[in-house]
Symmetry: C2
Subunit: 265 residues, 2 copies
């Protein structure tokens, strides 16, 4: 985390990104503002993906969408956001395989592309920290541990797959408080989907993450599991669309929307 | 549970109680309306007890109070409620000991008595049932299991003691939902105070209840613990005021307040 980035406005931060001077992880930058996972698909795949998000709002909470195919501006999410230049790093997929990782997709843009922006856990982690809860992956400066579960998402056209969850260990009383806080934020995964015994959702060993790092689980803590934005990436990997662009892991789009605006109450 | 009582209006039910025709447990009667735990104390003890309730709102959620000492009407809780006659059964205590159990306290009434009405779990159980959750003590037609914990209440004057909790076993996903629902109802104990490992709050054996019955805990269920209205009764037993009247366990005051009115959102 680059501390000088923390207090930048979202538009000042995006200007840095657009100039190519920032291509890294956005955790902690422009604090207080919503960051989004990015999925860009050709229009003939976008309809199925939209349906997949609508059917699976906990792992795939849609917070923004292109006004029409080919439109690279996301006016509802912030001033002058250009999705071709304003994400620090992109992954380009062909038929489900990463073919390159780039910091700008102007030369790849097409008139049939549709952009999806999905809420991410950074927003609710900020709300939990503000309440005085400890977030272990933040304390230990690691990526949050993520696991593939046996919870099937609802299929939509060519998209299907099991839910991926992130895990944060907590004392029970803190888990109860986290459920209350996260329930206010359905647009960033909402309340946890499970807590306690991992095997009940198909996780056999917390020490074996499917994505991210492991974190310390202290005595008397229970694992608390949230639906995770890696879920749609797994569905994309399963579906293997001929062409797709996503953000690189952790290198998110920073929007002008205050995290607090996502609170439903 | 007497099914013919379920659909009575609160005032019709209280008329039955007042006539002496109903002296039993009020679980399920006048469905949809708030029932209250009753504590009646002399004025010189009432100030400490009020402070105890204010300091410990989860176990002692105050929903009604005499307008002034000696006033036996509780106008804010319902039409023509007379606390001397409208509770099905009363326990009379002297110096912390039960001296009699009666269905009417008109001859015991004094000008210095102050009545406290505290919210009870019947209200949140109704909200959980309405959402489709199973409440084991209801399914098994038992009293809810209750346990004394090692969680100290905040002392107030002569009142002190550890928190008593009620326990309902649930699958984790139902526990998460129950936390969301109960968070809307702080006046009836609010969100659970603990879940999972009982020993973390000083409960060594769930098969040994301190009050109430045991219930079945099925495979994959976790115990979920709520602050319980027996807590103030324990504080009263510790304080041993020279004179005190409470409802008999389960024989509550039925008010005219709809359970839904207690929801804060």
């Amino acid at each position: 985390m680059n501390n000088s980035m923390n207090t930048l406005t979202p538009s000042a931060f995006r200007a840095l990104v657009r100039s190519g001077k920032f291509t890294a992880n956005t955790s902690g930058v422009a604090q207080g503002f919503v960051q989004g996972n990015i999925v860009i698909l050709p229009q003939d795949w976008a309809q199925d993906f939209l349906l997949f998000c609508q059917k699976n709002p906990k792992p795939c909470p849609l917070i923004g969408l292109s006004n029409k195919a080919g439109d690279f501006l996301l006016t509802e999410l912030g001033e002058n956001i250009d999705i071709r230049t304003d994400v620090p790093n992109y992954r380009v997929f062909e038929h489900g395989k990463i073919v390159r990782e780039v910091s700008d997709i102007q030369d790849l843009w097409r008139d049939d592309l549709v952009t999806f922006v999905l809420g991410c856990s950074f927003s609710f982690e900020e709300a939990l920290l503000a309440d005085g809860l400890e977030i272990r992956n933040i304390s230990e400066q690691k990526n949050v541990p993520m696991y593939t579960t046996n919870i099937a998402c609802k299929s939509a056209g060519r998209f299907s797959g099991n839910m991926v969850v992130s895990m944060r260990p907590m004392l029970a009383k803190d888990a109860i408080r986290a459920i209350q806080i996260c329930s206010r934020f359905p647009a960033v995964h909402g309340a946890p989907v499970h807590l306690g015994e991992p095997s009940l959702i198909g996780i056999n060993d917390l020490a074996q993450t499917d994505f991210g790092d492991t974190v310390t689980i202290k005595a008397n803590e229970i694992p608390v599991f949230w639906a995770c934005g890696v879920t749609p990436q797994v569905a994309l990997a399963n579906a293997k669309p001929p062409f797709c662009i996503t953000h690189s892991p952790g290198a998110m789009l920073v929007t002008d929307i205050a995290n607090s605006k996502l609170a439903i109450l």
